[in-house]
Amino acid sequence: MAKIPIQPQADINLEDLLRLKRSERPSEQFWNEFDRELHQRMLQTLVKKDPWYLQVVRAFSGRILQSAAIATAAVLVAMIVVRPAFQSTMQPIYVTDAQASGADVIGASFEVAMTELTLAEATSLPNYDTDVISAEASSSEVNFIRDFGMEQMRIASYDASAYSTDSAHARVAFASTGVASLVY
């Protein structure tokens, strides 16, 4: 809109201008729409719907609780029914030399190993301090030989220095991509 300069000497004062604002009135159509919207909102108020976030929280918590209850019940059923049934059907496995594949297992049967386990050994605390597992060592207790194609493997112990040890006779090649690959 082009600005038309107004002469300040025009006989208009501040009160006149403010009175001008009283003539800014919405149309009848506006009020019809206003009444319609207001009635709609008042009806919604009467229904008293909860805010959307409360509805979401309630819905999710209901589902989560329901799921958790079902899962817990399923686990309890599994523990009560399935586990004893599994334990009762557990029998020692007898494997003879003839049954065992000569290529894979050579030596004593599993039964011998089980019967040789004394009570003291069974109740003693397990020792995880083993540093060296030798595939070629004479495993008199278990009495089997498995050829893994390498001489020995050193396992890292709790000693921090062991992590830097690389005596597995395996070559660790670091690819340019940063991914390490173990090559036997």
Binding site: I6, D11, N13, L17, S23, E24
Partner: protein, 210 residues
């Protein structure tokens, strides 16, 4: 303050509200409180234009004013069971409107676009139109719109507490004591704020008014 013609009809309730309208409103409120929800519509019809006018002149935005006016009536509807009639319904609903508007203005980080209502030319013509020194009717119409724009801009420059006093006194035609009751301020404070606000408006509009 002289209020003439259609304006006086629209704003006459404000002068009478504390005396006679108060009892009339209270009887309607009691009906609503008794469960006659439809009676609330009488209060809406009676006060909607005045509430809209206050909010519109506080926000200078037609759509915001419409939303906030609805919100005001919804709040009043929700709280009417707790309304004990210690003040008039008129004062109570104005207070809700002003609090709702002030909350909105605090949340509104920056001014939105301004959308004006059309000016009712019947009133304009009789009040100011003939006083403008522009020659043609179209020029006078353009001047009126420019004045409207400048006045709204100037009102928005005032702080809310000064703006509300100007709006309630100069536009709504309420007395100092009524404004004091609505705004929880003393009559002296209302007078002081009104004086300061009008001084500020005179400064902002010095190029347009005598």
């Amino acid at each position: 303050m002289a209020i003439t013609g259609a304006v006086s009809k629209a704003f006459a309730h404000a002068e009478e509200a504390p005396v006679s309208e108060r009892d009339l409103d209270w009887s309607v409120v009691e009906r609503v409180q008794a469960g006659n929800v439809g009676a609330f519509d009488q209060l809406v019809q009676k006060y909607r234009e005045h509430i809209f006018s206050v909010i519109y002149n506080m926000t200078s935005n037609r759509e915001d004013a419409s939303d906030l006016t609805q919100e005001t009536f919804i709040k009043a509807f929700q709280a009417i069971a707790r309304f004990k009639g210690k003040s008039s319904f008129f004062t109570w609903i104005y207070r809700i409107a002003i609090n709702t508007t002030n909350t909105f203005l605090k949340k509104r980080s920056r001014r939105r676009y301004i959308s004006y209502e059309n000016i009712n030319e019947e009133v304009t013509t009789s009040e100011i139109f003939e006083r403008l020194t522009a020659k043609s009717r179209s020029e006078k119409g353009a001047l009126i719109h420019e004045l409207q724009e400048k006045l709204n801009d100037s009102l928005q420059k005032l702080s809310p507490k000064h703006r509300i006093v100007v709006v309630l006194h100069e536009i709504e035609g309420l007395s100092h004591s009524e404004i004091a009751e609505i705004t929880n301020a003393s009559v002296g404070t209302v007078r002081s704020r009104l004086h300061y606000a009008k001084q500020q408006l005179q400064t902002y509009l010095k190029d347009y008014i005598s």
